[in-house]
């Protein structure tokens, strides 16, 4: 191996990559824009939409209830719902989103309540529609207050305390620190994003430096120079790796900065007490740990993608080979978002292991034995992929496939 020649190839490939708009977009622009957009942009958009939906006083219909004036009065007096005159095609009105819900009050409800008979009030809604579900919850809240008052009055009439019906309360109490709660909630997503961006960052240069070179007719030009093929592969590989690492580094940094900005802006505080319990603190050490763990994954991607792309005759053909590989990466990366805990066996599954580890790192958990297994196993997979890439570059039937 000739380091000088590897350097010559690397510098030339870097120069070309920096002049290539597609590489710049996939390696620099996407990670720089994606995380701020996802965290700040998307978060703000979602909270604005939910806020707007909550602000809206939903229109509802009341079906029946003429003989139950008390419950009607409760609903009419509630500021959380707006009663509209009932119509026979109330179902269509809900489906067409003209009204958000319809409350069906059974005949003789007030009498039944007075005689302590059981009865059911039905809330017809549009399941899955956020505004309809909010309307349902507003109606439930109003009816629950009314029911609680009746229960209280009944208990008073029987000279019984409220605790007769509710002898004790049940509450849950989180003992995990806020950053761990936030990490558990977002950690899987962060690992997934970093790994996916690492793949997308290396994808374009890997195709451009192999199949692209064949398509442009420069493969024969470079093969006629005295450089050894192993040096050529390494020169190209280091450029693809650089693109993957730059993408990963930028995405991790961008992610850290985005969350820091959100934290500084107290964006989580404004989102309510639940969100305060879920602060996502990503420290420099966490960012560094994620980056180190992603390194062998980037090597695996760079070498693996080059091996596959080299087989193709053209850039387009390379895309058709590589696109299905996206699923191979996305599925284990997505699986890490499921409630799966890292085990010794899972630590050997490529990509899934790194993704699960990222989740742990974000929560500040460091299982050193798993970290060692994952790092070394991924290094082995990466070395195998690199070996295959070198072998592929020595195959005439691949280089001159026509």
């Amino acid at each position: 191996m000739n380091l000088r020649n590897i350097g010559v190839v690397y510098r030339k490939e870097l120069r070309e990559a920096l002049r290539d708009r597609r590489t710049l977009i996939s390696s620099l622009l996407v990670p720089l824009i994606l995380f701020p957009l996802l965290t700040a942009g998307l978060g703000a958009a979602v909270s604005a939409l939910i806020g707007k939906a909550k602000e809206e006083v939903p229109a509802i219909m009341i079906l029946g209830g003429e003989d139950s004036p008390e419950i009607l009065a409760e609903l009419r007096d509630s500021p959380k719902v707006k009663i509209v005159p009932s119509k026979p095609d109330w179902k269509n009105e809900i489906i067409n989103k003209d009204i958000r819900a319809a409350v069906e009050i059974p005949p003789g409800l007030q009498d039944d309540i007075a005689h302590q008979k059981s009865a059911t009030v039905l809330i017809h809604n549009y399941s899955g529609d956020l505004k309809s579900e909010l309307a349902t919850s507003n109606v439930q809240e109003t009816l629950q207050k009314y029911r609680d008052r009746i229960v209280h009055e009944n208990l008073v009439a029987q000279h019984l305390p409220d605790t007769a019906l509710k002898p004790f309360d049940i509450k849950d109490n989180n003992v995990a620190p806020p950053e761990k709660v936030g990490g558990a909630a977002f950690g899987g997503l962060i690992g997934y994003m970093v790994i996916l961006l690492c793949l997308t960052g290396s994808m374009y240069p890997a195709m451009d430096l192999t199949a692209g070179e064949k398509e442009r007719g420069t493969m024969e030009t470079i093969l006629s120079s005295p450089i050894a093929r192993v040096d050529l592969v390494f020169g190209k590989f280091f450029l693809v790796l650089t693109a993957a690492l730059v993408t990963a580094a930028l995405s991790v940094t961008s992610m850290g900065v985005s969350f820091a900005v959100l934290e500084h802006a107290h964006a989580f505080d404004q989102a309510g007490p639940d969100a305060q319990q879920m602060q996502l603190q990503i420290h420099f050490t966490t960012v560094l740990s994620i980056f180190i763990m992603v390194l062998p994954v980037a090597v695996l991607f760079a070498a693996g993608l080059m091996t596959v792309a080299l087989f193709a005759k053209s850039y387009k053909e390379a895309q058709s080979y590589i696109s299905p590989l996206m699923f191979v990466v996305i599925i284990p990366a997505v699986a890490a978002m499921l409630p799966i805990d890292l085990t010794a066996k899972l630590a050997l599954v490529p990509i899934l292991n790194a993704s699960l580890l990222c989740k742990e790192l974000v929560t500040g958990t460091y299982h050193w034995n798993f970290i060692a297994i994952i790092f070394f196993s991924t290094c082995v997979y990466a070395a195998v992929a690199l070996f295959l890439a070198v072998k592929m570059f020595q195959r005439e039937d691949v280089l001159f496939r026509s």
Partner: protein, 251 residues
């Protein structure tokens, strides 16, 4: 000097199985001489030249290029060879000068020598006006000059041209032809493949006629004319090639 000794190259084809593209090809090309490899499409010209340039490895047989064995010392062979064909394209995002510099560095030239050589070649080929222009912005003629500069940068003793004028207009093709002549004048060993008879008549000191991977006839133009009792090279070519000719199948 090029000495091809029983070169054989087999390929594997899914439909046809083993295909012999080059079949026991033996010839010698001396310094200061232009050897023309004449053959129809698919005759084995490109494969033979790729074997000599060590872009492909022979299945059997070998060749000595500037004293180096193509099988045992491929890198030394490539250092001694300038390879030019219409398939050897340029890097579109590099400038003309960067392209030539890249190949100079890959050939192990130090920066001082590289700068001196580039200045010399760019002046000689009248390339200074577009030395900083990206290759994807160059005209065909400028591209060819850049390719020539790329093959010359390490001052190789052996020049291999694979159908260098294919698809070029008359003026650009003339630049290449003049360049090949200049290589001979400078005492380089030159081999070039073509299927254009007029180019052979204009340039070649020795002609080798190849078909189905076999070198069927070899000699100076006069020798071939005397041997086949024909003056017209095309007639000689058809007479030699016709018995073995099969229309080319796309592989």
């Amino acid at each position: 000097m090029i000495e091809a000794r029983g070169l054989i190259k087999d390929f594997h084809d899914k439909k046809r199985g083993r295909v012999r593209a080059v079949d026991h090809v033996t010839f010698t090309c001396k310094p200061g001489q232009i050897y023309g490899l004449l053959g129809a499409n698919g005759a084995g010209k490109t494969t033979t030249l790729r074997l000599l340039a060590t872009i492909l490895e022979p299945t059997d047989g070998t060749a000595l290029v500037n004293g180096h064995d193509v099988v045992d010392e491929p890198q030394k062979v490539r250092s001694a060879v300038g390879f030019l064909s219409t398939a050897t394209a340029l890097y579109p995002r590099l400038s003309s000068q960067e392209m030539v510099e890249y190949f100079g560095r890959l050939n192990g030239l130090d920066e001082v020598t590289l700068t001196k050589r580039i200045d010399d070649i760019f002046s000689r080929l009248d390339m200074n006006s577009f030395r900083d222009t990206r290759c994807d912005k160059l005209s065909t003629g400028m591209k060819q000059k850049t390719s020539i500069a790329r093959t010359l940068i390490h001052d190789p003793q052996v020049m291999i041209f694979d159908e260098p004028t294919s698809g070029l207009d008359v003026m650009t093709a003339r630049t290449i032809i003049d360049f090949i002549r200049e290589c001979r004048q400078r005492g380089k060993t030159v081999i070039f493949s073509t299927h254009i008879m007029s180019e052979v008549e204009k340039l070649c000191d020795v002609v080798g006629i190849i078909q189905s991977g076999k070198l069927l006839a070899e000699g100076t133009l006069e020798e071939l004319r005397a041997r086949y009792r024909q003056h017209d090279l095309e007639e000689i070519f058809v007479q030699i090639v016709a018995p073995l000719y099969v229309p080319q199948e796309k592989n």
